[in-house]
C-alpha cells in the first residue's frame, strides 16, 4: 500500500496519544490502536518501513518507538 498514507495515518494516531503525559502509556496505546484496527499486511508494511533510519521514515519518534517496542504481528501469516 501507499506507504506515505500509512505513515500519515500512524502519525495522526501518534498525535492523539502524544497528549498522554506517561510516554509508556502513550506508546502502548498507539501500538494497541494499530493492532486493533489495521490488517496484518498494513502492520507488516509499516513495521518494515519503520526499520529504516529515523531520518528517512517520516514517523514521529513516539510512533516509531511504539512500533519497535510494542507492535505485535500475527504469529502466522493470515493472508494466505
Amino acid at each position: 500500500m501507499d506507504i506515505d498514507k500509512l505513515v500519515r495515518m500512524a502519525n495522526s494516531i501518534g498525535h492523539h496519544f502524544a497528549a498522554y503525559p506517561d510516554r509508556e502509556e502513550a506508546m502502548a496505546s498507539i501500538a494497541h490502536h494499530i493492532e486493533m484496527s489495521w490488517t496484518p499486511q498494513m502492520r507488516r508494511e509499516l513495521l518494515s518501513h519503520a526499520s529504516q533510519p529515523a531520518s528517512t521514515h517520516g514517523l514521529q519518534a513516539l510512533v516509531a518507538d511504539a512500533l519497535a517496542k510494542h507492535l505485535v504481528l500475527p504469529a502466522s501469516t493470515s493472508d494466505a
Binding site: 501507499d2 498514507k5 495522526s12 494516531i13 490488517t39 499486511q41 500475527p74
Partner: protein, 977 residues
C-alpha cells in the same frame, strides 16, 4: 385524517400524577388532572362530536360542535377546552344538545359544496361523518347566498405543491392546519387571514404553498378534516383499502408510517401516531418522496459484462450469481484469500447487513467488510465506546422534551433530521435554552419563536479547540458536578483530564485565535451548559450546580467528519460526564445518524474489526460463538476498511468487491482516486435498485429491492429497532436478503433462512444486547430500543442510568491537533459540506421524485465579501479547486456562511463535490474529513474537466444499459421480464 381510523381522543394526553374523578353520562371516570372533558368521555367510549379538535394538538374551541352540559354550570361549555374537575357531572347527549349541534352543522354546510360523491375525501371525511352523527337532514339557509364554493366565488385550488393541493372551497376554517404547522412542525407558514365570513387559510404572505416558507411536511394535510388539503395521489387514485405499518427508509429518525395501499400500489404514506420515534409526524421525504420505488430507472434484471467498456448483458439470476461467485473464487485462488471483500449498506435492513458481513467472514473467509458508516459515524462508535462503554447514543428522542439546555454541535436537525428538529423546536418554544456550535448560521440559530442563546460560529476544523475551551471554563470556574464524577467516573483519568483542560493553552482566550469564537461567548455557553442560567457571572458557580438542570448534547456529521472526529466525540462525552449529564431523561450524548440504518449496520458487525454487537474479532470467546453457529473458522485479525480497500486495489492486492446498496463512487471523498481504485478491480458486484455511480464501474449488477418490497428491521438513532414490512413483491423477484443467501450458496456456503425473522433470531442468539429481540416481540411492542435482554425485556430508552456500560466513565485527553487541511495561499478558503431537507444523501432516491422542485442542483454558498473579491455574482459559475481536484458549481452569495468559508451539498453526482474533498481522515477510524477542505474559488464559464469526462463516461454507461434493456435475457433458466 387517515382512512384506517385510529382513535382520536380530541385533545392530547396529560401526564399529571394527580387523578381526578368525575361522572360522564352517569359513569365514573378517573383521568390525570388537566385532561379535557372531551378526552375523558372518549376514554369511556362516549364520543363527542368535534371538528376543530384532534388529539395531536392543543384544543382551540372554535367549532362549537363539542358542547356538553355540566351540572351547576350555565350554558353549554365546549368539552375540548374544558378541563375536568373533581365531582363534575357531565352529560354528552340530550335533545337540546342534539339540536344545538345540528344548528352548528347546518351553518357549516350552508357554505359547503354538497359534492361528497365526487370528492377525494369521500368515505374519509370528518365533516361528512359529523353531519351523519348529528343527524343533519336539511339546510334551511339555502345555498344561493354568499359562499366560497360556487362557480363565481370559488378560488382555483392551489396545486403548486407537487404532492398535495389546497382547495379553499372545502375549507371550514377550523385552523387545524395552521395549528399543525405551528405546534407540530414549527414552521409557522400558515395563517388565517381576514375576519368572519372573509376568513381563510393563507400560506405565507398571500403566497402559493410552494413560494411560502412551507417545507411540505404534510402535517397540515394530515390534520385537515375535509378534502381541502389533500394528497394528489389520493385525488388521483382514490382512498386506499389496506394499511401496513412500516418504517421510513430515509434518515436516522426512523419514522413509523402506515403505508396505505390498493393491491400493490401505494396510495399514500401516513405517519403513525403510535410510532415512538415520530409520534404521528414526518417530513417531506418520508411522507411524499417514495415514488422512486417504482421509477422507470429501476433495474429489475441481473446483468453481467466482462469489462466496464462494453455493454451490459441481461442474464438470469442463476447465471449472474454463478458468474460472480466463480470470479470471486478465481481471484481468491490466484491472489489470496484476502483479495476480495464486501460493503454493507446503511440503507438496507439489519438482516441484510448481517448476511453480507456473514458472507464475507464465513464464505470469503476474511474480515474485509466495511460499511458506509465508515464515512459518517464511525468516530461515534469509537469515541463513545472509549468513554461510556457503548457505541450508541444515550437517549430516546422524547428525552429532549425534558431538556433545559440543548447544545447542537455540527448538526442541522431541521434539514437533516426534520422530525427530531420539530420536536426540538417545540421544546425551545417552551423555553429551553439553545447553544449552537456550527460554522454556518443554520436555521435553528434564528427561526420563528426560536433563537439561539449562543451561536459559536467557529472556523471549520476547530471543534476540539472549542470543546476544550468549554471544558476549561467548566473545570476552572468550579462548574464540575463533583459528586456525580466521584461516584461514576474513573478518578485518575478525571484528574488527568482536569489538569489537561485547565492549562492556559485551552482557555477560551487562548483558543479564540484558532477558532474565531470570542472568549466571552465560549465562557457564557459553558456556564449555560453546566449550570442552566444565562449570562450569570463566574461566581455563584458551585452552589448553582446544586439544583440539577438537564443539559443535552445533539451532534451530527459536523462533529465526526473531521481529522479529529473521534477526539471530538470523546470531548463531548467528557463534557457530559463532567457536568453529570448522562443517565436520565433530558440529558445525554446524542449522535444524529445520517442514513436510516447507520446504527443498525454498525450493530450488525459491519466493521472489519468487529463482530455483531461491537465485539472485536480478536476476542476468542466471541469468535468461538460465531464459529460454532456458522460452522467455519474465523480470521482473528481486522480486515480492510473502505479507504484501505481502495489503496489495496491500487497496489493490486485487492481485486474483487461485493457492494450492497451503497454508492461509494459518489459518496466517498476524492472521487478520482476512488474511480481509479474501482477501475483496478477485476470483479465488482453491485447490488442496487438503480444503475448508480458505482455500478458504472461494475461487472455484475444484481437488482436490489426498495424498503417497500421486503421484510426486515431498521435501527434508528435512538437504538430503536422497528419493523419494515413488505408492501409489494420485489420488482426483480428477490429481496436483497434472498440475493445474499443465493450468492453465498453459489460460493458454496449454505445459509438457510426461510424469512428475515429467522435471521433476527440468529442475531438475538449470538448478540447479548439483542437477546430479547424477535419479530413476535416487535409486533407486540411496536419497536424496541436495544439493549433488550433479561434485565431489560422491553428495551432500554435511556442508557447508563446507574453506572456506565463500561463500569466507570473514562475521561479521555483530547488535545487539539490542527488539520492538514489549512487555508493556505494557494487554497485560501475552507470548503465544508452538508445536506438539505428535500434531498437525501447521494440523492439516488430523492432525485427521482418531485422533490427536485426544491433543490434541482447543488450550489456553492459563498460570503459576499469573498464573492466580490473574486468577481463572482449570485448565480454565476464558480470553479472550486483543492489539492484533490476541481469542479464547477453555481454560486449562491449569502451571509449564512462566514468570510473564508464556502459550503455545498453533494446530492447530485455531476456537481462533483467529492472530486474536491480529500482523503484526509479521522485518526482513529479513517472517517473522511468531508467538513474541511482547503480550496480556491474562481469565476469560470464552463464545467471542469472532471465534469466533462464524467458526463461522457455517464452517457457511455447509460448507452451500455440501454443496449441491455433492448435484449432478452440469456441463461438456461430464462424467465421473461
Amino acid at each position: 385524517m387517515t382512512i384506517f381510523r385510529e382513535p382520536d381522543y380530541g385533545t392530547p394526553a396529560r401526564s399529571s400524577a394527580e387523578m381526578i374523578t368525575l361522572s360522564i353520562d352517569g359513569e365514573a371516570v378517573s383521568v390525570p388532572a388537566g385532561t379535557s372533558v372531551m378526552r375523558a368521555a372518549e376514554l369511556i367510549g362516549n364520543r363527542i362530536p368535534k371538528l376543530c379538535a384532534t388529539d395531536s394538538m392543543e384544543p382551540f374551541g372554535s367549532c362549537r360542535l363539542c358542547l356538553v352540559e355540566i351540572e351547576g354550570r350555565r350554558g353549554m361549555p365546549a368539552s375540548c377546552t374544558t378541563p375536568v374537575e373533581a365531582g363534575m357531572v357531565v352529560r354528552t347527549h340530550s335533545t337540546q344538545l342534539a339540536e344545538v349541534r345540528r344548528g352548528v352543522m347546518e351553518l357549516y354546510i350552508s357554505d359547503h359544496p354538497l359534492d361528497c360523491l365526487t370528492c377525494s375525501a369521500n368515505g374519509n371525511c370528518e365533516l361528512q361523518d359529523m353531519a351523519g352523527v348529528v343527524g343533519l337532514r336539511e339546510v334551511r339557509y339555502g345555498m344561493e347566498g354568499r359562499n366560497h364554493f360556487d362557480a363565481h366565488s370559488a378560488v382555483a385550488p392551489d396545486v403548486s405543491n407537487p404532492y398535495f393541493s389546497f382547495d379553499a372551497a372545502k375549507c371550514i376554517v377550523c385552523s387545524r392546519c395552521v395549528r399543525a404547522c405551528d405546534e407540530i412542525q414549527g414552521t409557522f407558514a400558515l395563517t388565517i387571514s381576514g375576519r368572519g365570513f372573509d376568513s381563510r387559510v393563507t400560506a405565507g404572505i398571500e403566497q402559493s404553498f410552494l413560494d411560502s416558507d412551507c417545507v411540505s411536511c404534510g402535517a397540515c394535510v394530515q390534520a385537515c378534516p375535509t378534502a381541502t388539503l389533500m394528497e394528489k395521489s389520493v385525488i388521483e387514485l382514490g382512498q386506499a383499502e389496506k394499511s401496513i405499518t412500516t418504517t421510513c427508509a430515509y434518515c436516522g429518525v426512523g419514522c413509523s408510517f402506515k403505508a396505505e395501499v390498493k393491491g400493490n400500489e401505494v396510495v399514500r404514506m401516513v405517519p403513525d401516531k403510535d410510532g415512538k420515534a415520530n409520534m404521528g409526524h414526518s417530513c417531506v421525504k418520508g411522507r411524499f418522496a417514495w415514488g422512486y420505488a417504482t421509477h422507470p430507472d429501476r433495474i429489475t434484471t441481473p446483468m453481467i459484462r466482462n469489462t466496464i467498456d462494453e455493454p451490459w448483458q441481461k442474464v438470469s439470476w442463476e447465471t449472474a450469481l454463478n458468474h460472480a461467485a466463480s470470479e470471486f473464487r478465481r481471484i481468491q485462488s490466484k491472489h489470496g484469500r484476502n483479495a476480495v471483500g464486501g460493503i454493507t449498506s446503511s440503507r438496507c435492513t439489519n438482516e441484510e447487513t448481517y448476511l453480507v458481513q456473514k458472507l464475507v467472514r464465513a464464505a470469503f473467509g476474511n474480515n474485509n467488510v466495511d460499511t458506509c458508516a465508515r464515512v459518517c459515524h464511525s468516530p461515534t462508535g469509537y469515541g463513545l465506546k472509549q468513554t461510556l462503554g457503548e457505541s450508541a447514543g444515550t437517549q430516546t428522542f422524547d428525552s429532549v422534551l425534558q431538556a433545559d439546555v440543548v447544545m447542537v454541535i455540527g448538526a442541522n436537525p431541521t434539514e437533516g433530521h426534520p422530525v427530531f428538529g420539530s420536536l426540538l423546536k417545540r421544546r425551545l418554544r417552551e423555553g429551553a435554552k439553545l447553544i449552537v456550535i456550527d460554522p454556518r448560521s443554520i436555521e435553528l440559530v434564528k427561526t420563528p419563536h426560536v433563537q439561539a442563546d449562543y451561536h459559536l460560529k467557529l472556523m471549520p476544523g476547530t471543534n476540539v479547540a472549542v470543546a476544550n475551551a468549554l471544558a476549561h471554563v467548566i473545570v476552572t470556574e468550579g462548574l464540575v458536578d463533583s459528586a456525580y464524577v466521584a461516584a461514576r467516573c474513573e478518578d485518575a483519568a478525571f484528574q488527568q483530564w482536569c489538569e489537561f483542560v485547565a492549562r492556559a493553552e485551552n482557555s477560551p482566550e487562548a483558543t479564540a485565535a484558532i477558532t474565531g469564537v470570542a472568549a466571552e461567548a465560549v465562557r457564557g455557553a459553558a456556564r449555560l451548559y453546566a449550570r442552566g442560567a444565562v449570562n450569570t457571572s463566574a461566581d455563584a458557580g458551585a452552589d448553582a450546580c446544586a439544583k440539577r438542570h438537564n443539559a443535552a448534547i445533539y451532534y451530527g456529521l459536523g462533529v465526526t467528519e473531521h481529522a479529529q472526529g473521534s477526539t471530538m466525540v470523546m470531548a463531548i462525552a467528557n463534557l457530559a460526564m463532567a457536568t453529570g449529564n448522562v443517565g436520565r431523561m433530558g440529558v445525554g450524548v446524542n449522535p444524529l445518524r445520517g442514513q436510516n440504518n447507520v446504527q443498525g449496520s454498525c450493530d450488525m458487525g459491519s466493521f472489519p474489526h468487529e463482530l455483531p454487537g461491537y465485539r472485536h474479532v480478536s476476542d476468542s470467546s466471541t469468535r468461538g460463538l460465531f464459529e460454532a453457529a456458522w460452522d467455519v473458522s474465523l480470521d482473528p485479525e481486522p480486515g480492510l476498511r473502505i479507504p484501505n480497500m481502495f489503496e489495496a486495489a491500487l497496489d493490486g492486492s485487492f481485486r474483487g468487491l461485493y457492494v450492497q446498496g451503497e454508492d461509494i463512487a459518489q459518496s466517498d471523498p476524492n472521487i478520482q482516486h476512488v474511480e481509479a481504485a474501482l477501475r483496478a478491480l477485476e470483479c465488482l458486484v453491485v447490488q442496487d435498485i438503480f444503475l448508480n455511480e458505482t455500478a458504472k464501474f461494475a461487472h455484475v449488477f444484481l437488482p436490489g429491492s426498495s424498503f417497500l418490497e421486503k421484510d426486515g428491521t431498521f435501527t434508528n438513532s435512538e437504538r430503536r429497532i422497528s419493523r419494515v414490512r413488505k408492501v409489494m413483491p420485489p420488482l426483480a423477484g428477490m429481496a436483497d436478503w434472498e440475493v445474499t443467501i443465493a450468492l453465498a450458496q453459489a460460493l458454496g456456503y449454505a445459509m438457510d433462512y426461510a424469512h428475515p425473522s429467522a435471521i433476527m433470531d440468529e442475531i438475538a442468539r449470538l448478540t447479548p444486547t439483542f437477546k430479547g429481540v424477535s419479530y413476535a416481540r416487535l409486533d407486540e411492542l411496536g419497536s424496541i430500543q436495544w439493549p433488550c435482554n433479561d434485565e431489560a425485556p422491553a428495551g432500554t430508552p435511556i442508557m447508563h442510568v446507574d453506572t456506565f456500560v463500561r463500569g466507570k466513565g473514562r475521561f479521555m485527553l483530547t488535545a487539539y491537533v490542527a488539520t492538514d487541511e489549512r487555508a493556505s495561499k494557494r487554497f485560501p478558503l475552507l470548503l465544508t459540506t452538508g445536506r438539505i431537507l428535500s434531498q437525501y444523501n447521494v440523492g439516488a432516491q430523492t432525485r427521482r421524485t418531485a422533490n427536485l422542485v426544491w433543490h434541482a442542483e447543488d450550489v456553492l454558498e459563498i460570503h459576499p465579501h469573498d464573492a466580490e473579491e473574486r468577481g463572482i455574482k449570485d448565480g454565476d459559475w464558480a470553479g472550486v479547486a483543492s489539492r484533490a481536484g476541481d469542479t464547477v458549481l453555481r454560486a449562491n452569495v449569502t451571509e449564512r456562511v462566514q468570510p473564508g468559508v464556502v459550503y455545498t451539498t453533494f446530492h447530485f453526482p455531476e456537481s462533483g463535490a467529492n472530486v474536491v474533498t480529500t482523503d484526509n481522515s479521522d485518526w482513529a477510524t479513517n472517517c473522511p474529513e468531508y467538513k474541511v477542505t482547503a480550496v480556491q474559488v474562481v469565476a469560470v464559464n464552463q464545467p471542469s474537466d472532471w465534469q466533462q469526462r464524467h458526463r461522457e463516461f455517464s452517457a457511455r454507461q447509460q448507452a451500455y444499459l440501454e443496449a441491455a434493456r433492448g435484449q432478452r435475457k440469456t441463461g438456461k433458466d430464462r424467465v421473461d421480464a
